[in-house]
Symmetry: C2
C-alpha cells in the first residue's frame, strides 16, 4: 500500500486542518486549500461567530493528534448554565453532578491557528490560502479553484478529494448539481436568526459576570446567551425571530426600539453592553440551519466531512466536537481498510451517519430546551434530580446532556435514544408526583431506570422490531 | 375585487388541471402550461406510473368542482389488501370494518383527461401543451417556456403564478437557486427503486386475480404490489433495493436471475406475467423520493402546490388525494381572504403545511408496514382487532388507516398523532397479552382508548407543553 497518494482537502477550517494533520501523520501527501486568507497573519473573523464549547469528543481528537496539552491553556471551563430572569435574578444549573465534567469556552480563531501550525510542521503538508474552490469534477477527480488575489483559475489533480468546506460546501454542491446519483439532501433553516454583541472586560481586564458559566436569558420566543473569552470579555448572542412576535429582527429598526426590547426582556444586560447600537445595527444577522445529506462519498474518489456533510445548529455546543469526532471515526476506519478508499468511504458513512443525524436532531431539541424549558418548573426539578443522581451514582447514572457531552464512548445515536427515553421517564414521574419524598436515592434511581426501560421496550414493540 | 386577474399555472397534471378548473369556476383568467403533449390526443404514458388509489380526500375535491359522478365509472373499488405468501397462499386484510369504506383503483391518464376537458369548458381557460417551463422570475412575476416542437422560447406575464409542476418543479428550483430568501428544502430518496410489470387480462378480458383487492407480496427487503385496471389487466410494481441484499436492481442483469428471484419469492406471479423479460429489462427503474420545502410562496406572486410543494412516496395511496385536498384547502382560504394574495398564500401554508408534512411521514411509515409488518403476527392480530372494533363501534373507533383514508374531516396531522399513539397502544396491549379473551368488545375499546390517551398525555408531558 502506497502512502504517496495525493490528497486534496478543500477547506482549512477546524475540520479540514484537523484532518490534514491526522492524514499527514499517517504519511499522505496533503494539499490543503482555503478560500480565506491565513487567519494567523490577517485580522479576519474566522467567519463563523458563535463561541465554541469544546468538550470530550473534541478533546479526544486533539488527544489523537497529540496536541490536547496545547489547547487547554486556550480554554475557559464552564461548569453549568447561569440562568437570568427578567428581574435580574440568576440561578445556576450544573452540566453534571460528577466532578471534572465541564465544557470549555474556546476561541475558534485560536484553535484553528494552532491546528494549521501543527499541520504545517509536516513537510508532506502544503497549505494554500486565498484559493476558493469553485467546482469539483468528482469523476476524475479534480478540483477547480480561483485565487482571491489574482482572480486566476486553476485545476488540481488528486487521488482523493475531501470536502471539509463547511455548510456551503462546493463539493456538496457538485453532488447536487451533477445528478450522477440519487442525492438525498436537506437544508432546514430555523425561523430565528442570530446577532452577536459584546460584554467587554472591566477596566482592569476582568470578566464582569461569572466566567465559570454559560449565561442564558431564556424568554421563550427569544434568547440571549453569553460565553466568556480569555481577554475578560463575553461574546453575547441574541437569538430572535426574523419576522414573528412583538420584537423581531425586521421590526427592531431603531435604537429606541432595541433598548425598549432589552429593557423589557434583558434589563441586567443593558449596562454591560455599552456599544449596543453600533453592534446591533452593524453586525450581520446570521442564519441557523441544519444540513443533512447522503451519500457523503462518490466511489473512492471524494468524501464530504464535518459541516460539509452535516451542518447543525449551535445549541448543543457540539458542531466542532462532532466534526473532530468525524476525524477520529475516519481514522479508526482507515486502520481497518486503509488502501481501499471505496470501502473506507462506505464503511465510514455506514458507521457515522446515524450519529451525525442524531446530534443534528439533539441540537434542535436543545434550541427549545435553552430558550424555553430551562425556566419551566418541572424541567428545573428534573435537572436538580439528575444532578443528585449523577452525584450519588457517578457510575450508574448519566443524563442525556452528560452522555452527549462527556461520554465520548457512547455514540450520539445511543445517547439520543436512551437520553430521550430517560428524559421522558423523569418528566412523567415528576409530573405524576410519583417520585416520593420518602424514597432514598437508590430507590429513585431504580424507579427511573425501570420507567426508562419500559419506555424503550414500548417504543420497540411499536416499531415491530 | 377584480376577477380579471391573469393566473398562470405551470403543469397540467392532476393538481394543475384541478386547480385550473376551480379557479376558472371562480372567474379568474387562467393560462395553463404543460411541458408534455395533450394526453387525450397523444399516446403517452402520463409520465408517472404507479396506479392511483382515489379515496375520500380526493373525492371531496371532485365533489367541490362538481364532477364526482363522472369519475366513479372510472373506478374499481378495492376493499382491502390481499396478501400473498411465498407458497402462493393468500389472506385478506380489509381496509375498514365499516361498510362503504374502500379505496378506488383509477387510471391517472383517464382522470387527468377528464379534468382537462372539464377545465376547457370554461372560456376563461387556455391550455398550452408542449410548453415546458424553464425558469420563473419570481419578482415580476414572469414564466419562461420553451416549445417542445419549435424549440422557441417565450416569456409570459402574470398577476400570479402557480407551480403545479410536480416533484421536479421549475418554480421550486427558482426558489432554491435565486436565494432571495432562506429556503428550507429537502429531497430524500429511498434505497429502493421500482419497476412496472403487467398481469394482462385473461382471454375473455377478465381479471386473473381478485379485482376487489390491492395485492401485496411482502418480503421484508422487497415487495410486489398489483392494482386492477378497467381492461382486466393489473399494473404490477416491484419495489427493490438498488444495490443491497441477495437480489437487487444492480445484480438482476439476466432473465435467468430474474426468474430465479421470482420463483423463489413470488412464484404465484410467474404464470401471470408472460412478458416478464421484456418488461423487466425495457421498463425504466423509477426512484422514490420525498420532497418538503418552505416557504411555498414568494410574496403574493408565486405559490407551489401539489407535488411541487410536497412530493411523497406512494405507499399510502395519498399523493393525488393530498394534492386534490390542497385545492380544497386553498379554495377555503380564498373564501376568507380573496383579493389579498399575500395573505391567501401565507394563510394557506400556515393551514396546510403540517398536514402535508404528516402525510409524507405517514407514507414512509406505510412503506415499512407494507413490505414487512403486514406479515408479522402481532401486526396481523392488531389489524384483525381493529376491524372488529370498527365493525362494533363504527362511530367511536377509527384505525389510523381509516382516519387518513376515509375521514377527510380529520386532518393528516391529527390522524398521524392519534393514529400513531393508537397503534402503539394496540401493539403493546397485544404483545403484553393484556387484551383478555374474556373481555367484551366494549371493554376492549375502553382499554385501547385509555392506553392511547395515556400515551398522548405522556408524550405531551415529555414535550413540556
Amino acid at each position: 500500500m502506497s502512502k504517496k497518494e495525493h490528497i486534496v482537502i478543500i477547506g482549512a477550517g477546524l475540520c479540514g486542518s484537523m484532518l490534514a494533520l491526522r492524514l499527514a501523520q499517517r504519511g499522505y501527501k496533503i494539499s490543503l486549500y482555503e478560500g480565506r486568507p491565513d487567519l494567523r497573519t490577517t485580522d479576519i473573523s474566522a467567519g463563523r461567530s458563535i463561541n465554541l464549547a469544546l468538550s470530550d469528543r473534541g478533546l479526544r481528537a486533539l488527544d489523537m493528534v497529540g496536541i490536547a496539552d496545547k489547547v487547554l491553556p486556550l480554554c475557559i471551563p464552564m461548569h453549568g448554565r447561569l440562568i437570568h430572569d427578567t428581574k435580574g435574578n440568576t440561578f445556576a444549573s450544573n452540566y453534571s453532578g460528577r466532578k471534572g465534567e465541564y465544557i470549555n469556552s474556546v476561541s475558534r480563531g485560536d484553535l484553528n491557528a494552532l491546528l494549521l501550525t501543527e499541520a504545517e510542521k509536516h513537510e508532506n503538508v502544503n497549505i494554500h490560502f486565498n484559493k476558493k474552490c469553485i467546482n469539483v469534477d468528482i469523476e476524475k477527480p479534480t478540483a477547480e479553484f480561483q485565487c482571491y488575489l489574482t482572480k486566476e483559475e486553476f485545476t488540481v489533480d488528486a487521488d482523493v478529494i475531501f470536502g471539509a468546506d463547511g455548510a456551503g460546501s462546493a463539493l456538496r454542491k457538485s453532488y447536487y448539481l451533477e445528478k450522477k446519483f440519487l442525492f438525498s439532501y436537506s437544508q432546514n433553516f430555523l425561523t430565528h436568526g442570530y446577532k452577536e454583541l459584546e460584554i467587554p472586560a472591566d477596566q482592569v481586564g476582568n470578566h464582569q459576570i461569572s466566567k465559570d458559566h454559560l449565561h442564558i436569558w431564556p424568554r421563550g420566543q427569544y434568547m440571549l446567551i453569553a460565553l466568556p473569552n480569555l481577554d475578560g470579555s463575553f461574546t453575547v448572542t441574541l437569538f430572535l425571530s426574523y419576522d414573528e412576535g412583538e420584537y423581531n429582527f425586521n421590526n427592531l429598526t431603531t435604537i429606541e426600539k432595541v433598548r425598549e426590547f432589552f429593557e423589557s426582556e434583558f434589563p441586567d444586560t443593558l449596562p454591560l453592553i455599552p456599544d449596543l447600537k453600533n453592534e446591533f445595527f452593524n453586525n450581520p444577522t446570521g442564519s441557523l440551519g441544519t444540513v443533512k445529506c447522503s451519500p457523503w462519498y462518490y466511489k473512492g474518489k471524494t468524501l464530504l466531512i464535518g459541516d460539509a456533510a452535516h451542518a447543525i445548529v449551535p445549541f448543543y455546543g457540539q458542531g466542532m466536537n462532532a466534526s473532530f469526532e468525524d476525524v477520529v471515526v475516519f481514522d479508526e476506519i482507515l486502520d481497518q481498510y486503509e488502501g481501499d478508499w471505496d470501502t473506507v468511504f462506505k464503511m465510514y458513512q455506514k458507521t457515522r451517519k446515524e450519529d451525525t443525524d442524531a446530534i443534528a436532531d439533539l441540537a434542535i431539541d436543545n434550541y427549545y430546551e435553552m430558550r424555553d424549558h430551562v425556566a419551566n418548573p418541572i424541567f428545573k426539578e428534573k435537572r436538580k434530580l439528575e444532578m443528585e443522581l449523577e452525584k450519588a451514582f457517578p457510575e450508574e447514572y448519566s443524563s442525556k446532556y452528560s452522555m452527549v457531552t462527556f461520554n465520548e464512548h457512547i455514540s450520539y445515536a445511543k445517547a439520543m435514544k436512551i437520553g430521550r427515553a430517560q428524559d421522558k421517564a423523569l418528566l412523567n414521574l415528576i409530573a405524576d408526583k410519583e417520585i416520593d419524598a420518602d424514597l432514598d436515592m437508590k430507590q429513585i434511581l431504580q424507579q427511573v431506570q425501570k420507567e426508562t426501560d419500559e419506555i424503550l421496550e414500548e417504543d420497540k414493540i411499536a416499531r415491530l422490531k
